[in-house]
């Protein structure tokens, strides 16, 4: 519990972060930037888990566990993403989204 801060304010913050992440995800044209936006989204949701755990169900720890898992998954995901990006860079010397469209064919 943060003294003087209601759950609404925290949710407002996470919502804002979440949509900034989405905004970045859609508008950025670089794979790494997209990855960064993704981290924002993940973090926003992770905060939500924790906050809901703390404010509404203080007796259990599920929210915390989920946050831990999110962090773990995010780490794994980032590692893979970076591997892919580097591999891609080796192949086409670019990490721009527009150069990776050929997947659609």
């Amino acid at each position: 519990m943060i003294a003087g801060i209601s759950i609404y304010e925290i949710f407002t913050l996470t919502s804002i972060l979440f949509f900034i992440g989405i905004y970045g995800f859609i508008t950025r044209k670089n794979l790494i930037s997209i990855l960064i936006s993704l981290e924002l989204i993940l973090n926003a949701s992770a905060i939500n888990f924790v906050v809901i755990n703390k404010y509404l169900y203080p007796d259990v720890l599920q929210g915390v566990f989920f946050s831990i898992f999110i962090i773990a998954v995010a780490a794994a995901e980032t590692a893979l993403a970076v591997a892919i990006i580097i591999n891609l860079y080796r192949q086409i010397s670019s990490v721009e989204v527009k150069d990776t469209e050929i997947m659609k064919y």
Binding site: L13, I36, A76, V82
Partner: protein
């Protein structure tokens, strides 16, 4: 006091997040992200989840950010400016996001949360026990799954990162 800290943190996070998704320099973008992540850790500290905050700092700020920076450095010139999306697309996305945000907030504020007043602190031991517990509410299975996932991701990352060379070896032989 905590209130003020929270607002400062929130302000830093939002500003950094916006800067992170709009900066034209790749490396700066990553650094702004770092601020956001640290801010998240700060939030965790504020609500007394110290362990979580520590994990956030070490794994995220310490591990992931470094990884990303490395990859940025590997594939970018520092001075390179990023290409930006078309203005129309930005505006469209912005509007869409604002509507979505409005929606979220509308739902959040119309919902009556049953907040339980408390000031519990959670020990690392409780978290450890919870994670490894077989009982109901225990998280041993997800924990194991996550460890396998991490392993798989690690191997996968290695293979993908080196994949090119592996296949090339075959060819040259």
């Amino acid at each position: 006091m905590e209130k003020i800290v929270f607002y400062i943190l929130a302000l830093i996070m939002i500003v950094s997040a916006i800067a992170s998704v709009s900066s034209r320099k790749m490396l700066r973008s990553v650094i702004y992200l770092l601020f956001v992540l640290i801010g998240v850790a700060g939030i965790y500290f504020l609500i007394d989840y110290n362990f979580l905050a520590a994990v956030q700092l070490t794994v995220y700020a310490g591990g992931i950010i470094v990884l990303v920076i490395f990859s940025v450095l590997l594939v970018h010139h520092i001075e390179m400016e990023l290409e930006m999306a078309q203005l129309s697309k930005k505006i469209l996305t912005g509007i869409s996001c604002l509507i979505g945000l409005g929606l979220f907030l509308f739902i959040i504020y119309t919902n009556d949360f049953k907040v339980v007043e408390n000031s519990k602190t959670t020990s690392v031991e409780a978290i450890g026990r919870g994670l490894l517990s077989y009982d109901s509410g225990g998280f041993i299975l997800p924990f194991e799954v996550i460890s396998i996932l991490l392993l798989a991701a690690m191997i996968g990352a290695i293979i993908i990162g080196k994949g090119d060379k592996l296949t090339k070896n075959d060819d040259t032989l």
